[in-house]
Structures are given as C-alpha cells and as structure tokens.
Symmetry: C2
Subunit: 223 residues, 2 copies
Amino acid sequence: MVSKLERTGDVPIIISTRQGVPVSSANSLAVEDLGSAAQRDRRKRILDATIALASQGGFDAVQMRAVAERADVALGTLYRYFPSKIHLLVSALQREFERTETLLRDKPVDGDTTAERVINVLKRTTRGMQSDPKLTEALTRAFMFADSSVQAEIHQVGMLLTSMLTRVMRPEAHDELTEEDVAIAKVIGDVWLSALVGWVTGRNSAAETGQQIEVAVKLLLRD
Amino acid sequence: MVSKLERTGDVPIIISTRQGVPVSSANSLAVEDLGSAAQRDRRKRILDATIALASQGGFDAVQMRAVAERADVALGTLYRYFPSKIHLLVSALQREFERTETLLRDKPVDGDTTAERVINVLKRTTRGMQSDPKLTEALTRAFMFADSSVQAEIHQVGMLLTSMLTRVMRPEAHDELTEEDVAIAKVIGDVWLSALVGWVTGRNSAAETGQQIEVAVKLLLRD
DNA sequence: CGGACAATTGGAACGTGTTCCTATTTTATC
DNA sequence: GATAAAATAGGAACACGTTCCAATTGTCCG
C-alpha cells in the first residue's frame, strides 16, 4: 500500500491532545511529546528500568511496580507515560531497535549479492538479540501479544525493520525502491519475526533460527 | 531438520505420567489421555465453552472462571485439563485447525500451478478465520504469546499447518517431499501467521492480508 | 459389596496488571 | 512572586489468572 517508506526521522504528526499534552500518533508518550528535561529524563529512567528488569528476568520480571520503583517514579506516573505493560515493552523495543539501526547505518554491510547482505545484517542483529535472551524474550513476546491499542507503536517498529532491510537491499539507490522491494522486505521481516518467536519459545535452536532466515532470504532474493 | 513430516494422525508418544495419568508429549490432557467417556465429554465441553466465549468477546472474554462455569466444571478441574489459559486456547486452536484440515482434505483445491493452489487454500482458510474475528483474535494471540511451556501444543499446530501446505503443494506425491518443499512451506506458514497477526491487531486490512500472502507465495513458488 | 484411590467440586487466597483518589510538588502565566 | 493548572507521589482497591485445600463423588479392584 505504501510505495515509499516514511523516513524514520520524521516528526510524528500530532493528531490529538490528552490532558493538555499533545500526543503523537502513538499512545505512549514519545520523546517529542515531552516538554521538560525532567520528563524526558523520567521517560528514559522508565525505559532503562524496563530493559534492566527484562534483561535480568524476562517478560515476567517486568512488573509494573518493580519498574516504577526502579525508575524512582510513582505507579500512576508510569501509567501516564505508558498506558500498559505491553506499550511499555514495545516502546522499549522501539528504542533498542532505533539504537541498533543507527549503529548499523554507519557500518557498511559486506556481501556481494543482495541476499548475502541481508543475511549478514539479519544474522548480526539476531546474534545481538540472542546475546541477551531474556531481554529478547520479553520484547518479542510483548510485540507479538500487542493488540490493536498498540497499533501505532507496533507500526513504528515494523517500519523501522522494513526500512532497515530495504536500506541493505538497495544501499545505493534507496530512494528508488520498487513496490516489489518493499514487499520482499516485509516478507523477510515476517519470517525473521516468526523465527525469533520460535527461538524465544524454545522451538528452534539458534542454529535453526539462522538457517530458517537464510533459507527464506535465499528463496526470496535469488536474482 | 525434519525432512519428512510426521503424519498428523500419529498417536502421540507417552513420555511421562502425571497423577497416575499417562500424559502425551503435550502438557494439556489430550483426548487420547482421557479414559472415561465422561472425561472426554468434559474436555469437549471445556473447549466448546472456550470457543463460544472467544467467538463472542475475543481473548479477554475467555476468562477461566467463565469457561469453567459455562462448561459446568469446577475451576480446579479446568486447570487439571489445561494448565493455563494459553494452553487452553492453543488446544482450542488445535482442535479448530484439525477440523478445517479434515474439511480441506476432502475438497480438492483448484488451481493449475502450485502457487495458485497454495494461495487458494490460504485465502480460503483466511476468509474462514476472518468470518469470526473475535475467535481468530483470541486464538492467534494465544498462539503468539505462548512461551516454552506450551511448546508441545504449539509444535502440533505448526506441523499441522506445514503439512496442510505441503499437501497442497504436492497433491500427488506427498511422500516425496524435498527439504526445499518443507522449507518453503514453513516460510509460507510464517508469513501467513505474521499476516494474520497484522490483521488481528488492526494493522492490515483483510485485503492487505490477502495481498501480503499472495505476494509471498508468488515469490516463493515461481517455477 | 467394601475399601482405596483418583477425580471433581466449591471456594478461599494470592500475585500482578490496572484503575482511582487525594495530597503534594512542579510548571506555566501574569 | 502569586496563583492556577498540570504532573507526580503514595497507596488503596479491583480484576483476573493461578494455586491450594477440604469435602464429596466416581471408579476400580479384591
């Protein structure tokens, strides 16, 4: 439906206000929604606490009371920033993803063919996630469990993933993406997510996860 | 890893006993685990209640107390049959899936090319699921949220899906599946699941979901 | 049939996500 | 700097998944 990806750096459009606060399309308070430095800091502390707890004990260890305490914030405040545990975790995922994406943007990906480059990027990312299994479990499960109220945040992440892939697929002419390029990137993103879920739930080993992705990419990018 | 799919009719291997009851590889009590007709009937009532509630109000409406009451069973009994809400819903999914699979087995799928047949089957199935959005939401979300304790049940469903696809891909010589056939089927299954999740969470319209699948299948089965 | 053991019932109790309320602190406006 | 509005703190309360237990019912073996 979208032939051109929005740039990831775009400023979200303000579509409504909540309690006087302009709210971007996402339901969680995004950084741009936050006025004061203290608020930005609170938001950061909350996400830091979330990731620390997730990294240590996975999805179940991310308990709202624990997050609030660790972030030195009242429970009500936590809920003002993130309306649910899922919103919180998906927002954390988004931040992590943005981090990896900017890291990736600098380092050129080696590989002669498109398929090789995509595989390299995905394997690198996957390896990164597998180095912190609990965190990955927490973030992945939140992402997959999210219902329509988290639509906006999910969409952000999905777009980040797709744009990450298309950038690797067409490093030179990223502007001239065809519909098919984007479609392929989406399919690959889907497979990657499924593979990740399989790994997180213990259905697939790390090796199998890698293979699964490799097979899919080779099938999809054989030209 | 598995070059040949197990047949779906296989009797599960008994690997342990629980409270004197032999338990198949799944953690939920499967039909084969149940001795008396009364027990099979209880199990059926529970799954019926689950599906009725899910169909009416989705994931959130499947409340364990409500299921127990509707199935005319004590809460403790419900938990004896299905150790968690997720187990319950994934088992319901499994039953539904088996039903559609047997329905499908009879009706021949039309379409000249492999791709066409696969697309037809998936679209048909997808349409069926979309006709009961709440139920689909409940079952899909449970499936994606399941953690490793539901591994066995999840595996069953995954295999059912893969075998459904390979049967359509190779209607004649289903015995001579190549590694690649199975790999492709798995990838398609992954994409289908992701598309379904996207639809369930309101990210994709029904039309987009169909297109997404079509694109993936055409890319994967272009020979 | 009687007795042992498993299954079921009915319901209390606990944990964690979520909501809600009041008092206090911070921020914005003049 | 004073005051109104918004944000935060602190914590009680509620909902639902889950666990647990005592009493009852069902099942099977001698």
